[in-house]
């Protein structure tokens, strides 16, 4: 491990976070509801730590390899959360561990909150919380490769370590150009959504908070009741459509711009994703008739709640904790699957689920015809065997973390459903689960150690597990 190189990159990352706090500082100045000083102190601390590091830790060797890329991704995200938690702590909104949980939940676009009285928080802090969704959604390191290629060095180790999905799909030959295209699409979609929400009658501040929450598929709201507070069909529809859009692979939007319509229709993952969403919405709507009385109302709530868990956003217009068991079970499965690779969403990713299904079906057929050579294909291209086994290993690790997370949460003495779904909601970066952590509940009452465990589970889920796991593996720290 090239420690100096990693430390100097982390220093630059921290400086970048201080810069990213400036919009929130501006908002707090504008509203003047008492959190300006806490932002100034936080930015001061971040500068005091990052500037000396940048100045004194210099590395002659700028070449980053996989090991360094993973370490910068893993440590970088922990660092961002650790310092991002400062404004809330300094302001006195909650203790440090809760603030760390809250901001980790923000950066990882989970949206799980420790606050019961969200509306009592000042605007600057609300903005910062939601802005971390927006940054974390597309990725901090992707952002740095777009604008500050000196941090990333050559090659794609950094961006790849951060990108959701089995592979980082480049849109242009140069990594920097790819990252710029991604951020451009991301920004345009976010602004479009904010405008749509404004037109639908949402106040300006709320419109941006919810656009950030949707774009990053995070789910922080500035209202105690989340989207249910507005009780508007138009707002429901706008947000559910955008949630589904942000769950799609961003390469598809690029194909739309370059008029490669064939490529969009051919995309197997997107087709399964959309199909799964439509079928789940209809099934749950039918199941909900007995709760809401008529199909249109049932459809309205199902049409919002299904995209919110599929895209792992976590907004809510209804308490699905009170829904019938079939609907709840289906929602749980969708929580595990998540959305498309290359989106801002979490979960296992649909493409992995498709590959696992194909793998399973091959094993079954293999039992009947042991000598038949069977190649697994995706969109007409055969998949290499090692990428299939990688998916298998990923799935296993995912489940292991899920189970151990549930075990850790259960130490707090909650029921099985709460423990299990709290772990799942954090690992898949959704936010709300079932039981005590359902859409109308929150994570306030968990003990500090459990909050730390859940924070690391969120990071593991966002970074696709391995960058976080290697931080705990001694081999990563040995000299090469």
């Amino acid at each position: 491990m090239k420690k100096r190189l990693v430390i100097s990159a982390l220093g630059k990352l921290l400086l970048l976070e201080a810069v990213m706090m400036l919009p929130a500082l501006g908002v707090s100045l504008g509203y003047g509801d008492g959190d300006t000083v806490s932002f100034l102190i936080s930015i001061g601390i971040m500068l005091a730590v990052s500037l000396p590091v940048i100045k004194f830790v210099k590395s002659d060797d700028q070449q980053m390899y996989m090991r360094e890329g993973l370490a910068v991704a893993g440590l970088g995200w922990v660092l961002l959360s650790a310092f991002g938690a400062l404004p809330m702590t300094v302001y006195g909104a909650c203790d440090y561990v809760s603030a760390f949980f809250e901001i980790t939940s923000g950066f990882t676009t989970t949206g799980a909150t420790v606050f019961t009285e969200i509306e009592a928080l000042p605007h600057g802090i609300l903005f910062w919380r939601s802005f971390t969704h927006w940054i974390g959604g597309m990725g901090v390191l992707v952002f740095t490769t777009a604008l500050l290629p000196t941090i990333g060095g050559r090659g794609g180790y950094l961006a790849r370590a951060e990108s959701p999905g089995p592979s980082f799909s480049k849109l242009a030959p140069k990594l920097g150009d790819s990252a710029k295209i991604l951020y451009l699409i991301y920004t345009i979609l976010t602004v479009l959504q904010a405008i749509a929400l404004l037109i639908a009658g949402m106040p300006l501040f709320d419109a941006f908070i919810h656009a950030f929450g949707t774009a990053g598929t995070g789910g922080f709201s500035n209202r105690n009741l989340s989207i249910a507070a507005y009780d508007s069909v138009a707002i429901d529809i706008i947000i559910s459509v955008f949630m589904l859009l942000f769950g799609l692979n961003f390469a598809l939007f690029f194909k739309l711009i370059t008029r490669d319509f064939k490529g969009i229709i051919k995309n197997e993952e997107a087709r399964v994703y959309v199909g799964l969403a439509v079928i789940s919405i209809l099934l749950i709507a039918v199941d909900l008739i007995k709760v809401y009385g008529d199909f249109p109302t049932a459809l309205r709530y199902s049409m919002f709640q299904v995209p919110t868990v599929m895209s792992t956003t976590g907004f809510a217009t209804a308490d699905f904790n009170l829904w019938p068991t079939f609907s709840k079970s289906l929602m749980l499965i969708l929580m595990l699957f998540g959305s498309c690779a290359g989106s801002t969403a979490g979960g296992l990713k649909i493409v992995r689920v498709i590959m696992l299904f194909k793998l399973a079906s091959r094993e079954i057929r293999h039992a009947f015809q042991p000598r038949k050579v069977h190649v697994i294909k995706m969109e007409g291209k055969s998949l290499p065997e090692d990428s299939l086994s990688q998916v298998g290993v990923f799935f296993f690790t995912y489940i292991v973390i899920l189970i151990f997370g549930a075990l850790a949460v259960s130490l707090d003495g909650r029921d099985v459903v709460t423990s299990f779904t709290a772990s799942l909601a954090c690992l898949s970066n959704i936010g709300p689960g079932l039981g005590d952590v359902g859409p109308m509940g929150n994570f306030t009452d968990f003990s500090a150690p459990v909050k730390m465990v859940l924070s690391f589970i969120m990071l593991a889920g966002r970074l696709e597990i391995f960058p976080i796991l290697i931080l705990f593996h001694p081999a990563a720290w040995k000299r090469s």
């Binding site: 390899y65 996989m66 050559r154 090659g155 794609g156 180790y157 480049k170 242009a172 030959p173 140069k174 990594l175 920097g176 150009d177 290499p384």
Partner: protein
Amino acid sequence: MRIIIVGCGKMGLLLAERLIAEKHDVTLIDRDEAVLEHAMDTLDALTIKGNGVSVATLQEADIKHTDIVIATTVSDETNMLCCLTSKLQGAKYTIARIRDPEYLTSLHFITKELFINYVVNPERATAREISRMLRLPFAASIETFARGRVEMVEIRATGREPFVEIPLKDLYKKHSSLPRVLFCAIERSGRAIIPKGDFIIHSGDKVFIASDTPTISAFFKAMGKDTRGVHDAMIVGGSRIAYYLAQLLQDSGVKTTIIENKPHKARWLSEELKDATIIQGDGTDQQLLLSEGLSDAQSFITLTDRDEENLMAGMYASRHTKGKVIVKSNRTSYSELLKDMGLESIISPTQIACNIVLRTVRARANADGTTVERMYSLIGGNAEALEFIPRAGASYLGIPLKNLKIHENVLVAVIVRSGHVLVPFGDDTIEADDHVVIITKEMGIVDLGDVIGRE
């Protein structure tokens, strides 16, 4: 520019690295996933797995909006077909690597019918370079500019030359009879230096000296060097380079001996090359080398397909002969090490071919302005020598050099005006249709105007 490279061999990867450094958008196509994965780790390029001849793969690489396709797969035929398909699919310019001597005679017809805009033959280009090196055996390398009128010679300073341990500006005050040459670049412990008047050359430095061809000869003659070319050449390895080289040497009357181990290859060479002596045997066998007259050989060149064999044989030969030893090795990064072991002249066909392609790409990148006529990379790629022909209308024409703004680390080395070579001073000017040779540490220059402008 948008460039597709088909085939990620040594040449493809080196080209990609250099082109990316020159800010081009590069897409790599190869059939081997492992090679692509390695490329993706180290290069900022798009990689596509597939066959470079298939339309689907080329379309995936966005062939319609591609400026240049470079085909460098191992097979000449694939490269040709790739160029044809690419051109039909909308690529603007195609470059193919074609190596087989059998295609040489029909090359004109092939390139015309298959829409290949440029053919690069690394082996033939390497053979040409070696034959040039054999003309001045004491030099580590020789590059020519302005259609052979200007030569740039690379030599290692041993300490006995008049130009060492003296500020360059005082050299001609002390040795007024010495023919006027220009010291254009120095390599000192792997770093490139473009010298100013107060620079002092030490023993052990590599020195690049340029002037017109007769003056260069006179300069080295005055220093007591033998400026006659070699009369015989001993070549180990009957590769394609050996074949091309033997042909070139044959024409200039150099007695050539080729040692080749494989009987069928030795036989083929013997059929094709009438004046050369072909010995069938192991070129790394010391007894064989001595019995074939290694001790008296004026030049010894190792050209087998294995770099390691070339280096071993080269090192052995440099102990047993006073003649010129040239070694083929594509691993140029070790050249510093090899110099310590007495091997001065290392040539890399990959590097030579890359330079040719890069020159062509730069000429395309700047199709309306001055084009790069020649390009050599010096000192392990840390400096470049470039030749331009400025067209009428450029802003810097007719202005004395001392009044022009010339970038740091750029040296206007030689100007050739209507066949006349001059080593420029502050009062000289650049005129339209001159051949201008510059030495620079800036990479990727496509136009003289990039580095020279009005105040």
